[in-house]
């Protein structure tokens, strides 16, 4: 998998998106900044969707023996 520590990056993506949404909820927004942030939000959303739809869970059976 190309994506390492994928879940952490999900949290980051999600945090970034939340920040942008909060920014839009603010009172005065500049249109140039709004456009840039909108595009960024759309990129983040696409990445989150891709992640949730396509990332795999990795199950690793431990080789350790637990019978003492």
């Amino acid at each position: 998998m190309a994506r390492k520590a994928i879940n952490k990056s999900y949290s980051q993506l999600s945090d970034e998106l939340t920040k942008i949404i909060e920014w839009f909820e603010g009172s005065e927004v500049d249109i140039d900044e709004a456009l840039a942030k909108y595009e960024q939000a759309m990129r983040l959303i696409a990445e989150i969707e891709d992640y949730l739809k396509n990332a795999d869970n990795k199950v690793r059976k431990l080789t350790e023996k637990f019978d003492k």
């Binding site: 998106l17 949404i21 839009f24 959303i45 869970n57 690793r60 059976k61 431990l62 637990f66 019978d67």
Partner: protein, 371 residues
Amino acid sequence: MADLVFSPSEFVAVFNQTIEQAYPQVIIEGELSNFKVSRNRWVYFDIKDEYASVKFFGSVYQLPGPLEDGLLVQVIGYPKLHHQFGFSITFQSIQPVGEGSLKKAADLLFAKLSAEGLFAPERKRQLPQLPHRIGLITAATSAAAADFLKIIGERWAGLEILLADVLVQGQEAPAQIVSALEYFEQITPLADILVVTRGGGSTEDLAAFNDERVVRAIAGSRTPTLVAVGHEIDISLAEMAADVRASTPSNAAQLAVPDKKHILSQINYQKTAMHQAIKEIFDSNINNIAEQKRWVVKTIEDIITDRKSQLLALKKLMKVFDPKAVLRRGYAIITKGTKHVKSVKQLKQDDSITAELSDGTISAIVGKSNG
């Protein structure tokens, strides 16, 4: 053989060798009696039935929890003739058997651990909202493991699940579960949560989850714990000691991770909200520009109107000052040479002057002046 004479030491050695070969390990089930713990370390008890009683010896670390006389127990150990204290069986494990004994033992352990505050609500930690590494302690080939992994897979993505394959029932189960919990204590990085689970079963099947060592290891885990033992009637002490309890392995998966379907629909909603927000920002900017345009046009129009009325007023004023208008009212402008005559003192008799009237000029000679 009958002629052989042993010293006591030789007899002990030969006896132990012989018994070890014949019965390296014995399993004895019976009623617990004379149960004693010495110096918090050594355990002595007898197992008896109607006709016989056998002595046992061992360490407190082999106990599944507090026990008391009268319980029906199954003990695994090896027989040994001690060089001073005589015959006993050194026990490796002791488990209450039968529903009544198991229940009684669990009650004893519950009372002991409650008094220590092990189940106190204030000890409970919240599970992280989004775990990345999950330590899963269960029997790898069990339906419980399959259910947990299936539901986890349906709900979330990109997880790393470390599966510790342990026995979840039988006398070896407690030690294996504890060993797995200890393993997860020392891995780096730590797992975000530990899930200990198995499906339902009889009271005896689930005994490991009422074992003091297991319950303490769960309560003492640095990593938040989620325990699900699939039976509904009695909650095991391991579940009570966990930070969070789930009813079944599938329920554990539900509690461990959020549902991606929910997140995806939330994301979809956010997407729509963003579209709306950016549209509103554009609309509001367009409105602003239109308004600004209207303002500029109106301001210019106002300026023009203002200037026009100023000009009109000036024009009227100019008319008042127009000398021709004065002439039309019967006045005349007198000039001598190139100079306007403003006073009779400028003139003397016989001077040539010009009088400008509204409709022409006349030349004249000054007669008499009375200035």
